[in-house]
């Protein structure tokens, strides 16, 4: 039967359970939303130049960009409007590489995207320019690869094809699929045969 004491005990139990739930609820929404650090760049700068040296201390790449973001935990560096110059061991500029943006993975692999141009800096070289959309460059081996349509221009020829495998160091460029080349000893007339 419901004596006053039993009623009191039930009330107490209800009170305790109520308090318990009450505490849990409040503990959830009082948690401070933590900032996901990995998505924020460690540093961000405008108009910055990054210099990369080879193990012997020779300057191998100079990378300037309008905006640079470095993400520490992923080791990724994002460049906006990158303008990269590569140097050979005699410290002579060999290639200038431009694109809309680039991602450097741990100072080793460079991905360039949109409107990528590799321009040969050596005078009267037979291969002047490589133009494509996306390119991956292994900065150590200077191997350049792309799975996109690629155009290669030289004073005496224009070549178009798919997929590129190039070596900036020993200056070879392979176009891997269905190549179409217009070649002419006096090259200037090659321009108009294309368009």
């Amino acid at each position: 039967m419901m004596t006053k004491r039993n009623l009191l005990y039930i009330l107490l139990i209800i009170l305790v359970i109520g308090l318990y739930f009450y505490n849990n609820d409040t503990s959830d929404n009082t948690v401070i939303p933590s900032i996901d650090l990995s998505s924020q760049p460690l540093y961000q700068s405008d108009k910055m130049t990054t210099l990369l040296y080879d193990p012997f201390g020779n300057l191998s790449y100079k990378m300037s960009a309008s905006k640079v973001k470095y993400f520490e935990n992923s080791g990724k560096t994002l460049f906006e409007a990158p303008n990269i110059t590569s140097y050979n061991r005699e410290n002579i500029a060999t290639w200038r590489i431009k694109a809309n943006n680039a991602t450097l993975m741990g100072n080793k692999i460079l991905y360039l995207n949109d409107n990528v141009r590799l321009i040969n800096q050596l005078p009267d070289a037979q291969l002047e320019k490589i133009i494509t959309d996306n390119v991956k460059i292994d900065l150590k081996t200077q191997i350049v690869t792309s799975d996109d349509p690629v155009t290669i221009e030289g004073p005496a020829f224009i070549s178009k094809g798919n997929r590129l495998f190039g070596n900036l160091r020993n200056k070879t460029a392979d176009i891997l699929e269905n190549v179409k080349t217009y070649y002419n000893a006096n090259a200037k007339s090659v321009e108009n045969t294309i368009n």
């Binding site: 190549v179 080349t181 217009y182």
Partner: protein, 152 residues
């Protein structure tokens, strides 16, 4: 009569191939796989083609390898139109000098007139043929008399 078509070597050359390698240090371009070269009225089909001295106008040379290399020239003379075809294991085209050299089982044909030899030299502009044999194999030429009048 040879001046009636423009100097062929100034014409641009188009080259289609499965793939191409450009080597700047050696100034060569190598095309491989179903290579088709077209320059004006000349077509060359080969498995592999190497262009050397690409930077020099004078001595750049196109060397084609095939089983065999096929060479074809469409000739238009007043109203007559005929084809000169050739094949060989190897074909060397010195562009500036308009000079084609076919080496190894070389044959050049115009309608039913054949020339078989080890080496055949052919001037693409004057359409002059010169066959030599550096091995004991003799040069064999078959000329159909009634067709000779049309050729020249």
């Amino acid at each position: 009569e040879s001046s009636e078509n423009p100097k062929i070597n100034a014409m641009p050359i188009s080259i289609d191939a499965d793939n191409q390698q450009i080597d700047i240090q050696k100034n060569t371009m190598t095309f491989s796989g179903n290579v088709v070269i077209i320059q004006d009225n000349i077509t060359i089909k080969a498995n592999k083609v190497v262009i050397t001295e690409i930077q020099s106008k004078e001595d750049q040379t196109i060397t084609a390898y095939g089983q065999p290399v096929l060479f074809e020239q469409q000739v238009q003379k007043n109203d007559t139109h005929y084809k000169i075809t050739g094949n060989a294991d190897k074909l060397i085209y010195r562009v500036k000098q308009n000079d084609v050299t076919m080496q190894g089982n070389a044959q050049i044909k115009q309608k039913d007139n054949y020339i078989n030899s080890n080496i055949i030299n052919y001037d693409v502009q004057q359409r002059k043929i010169e066959a030599q044999s550096d091995t004991r194999q003799r040069v064999r030429t078959i000329i159909m008399p009634e067709q000779v009048k049309e050729i020249n």
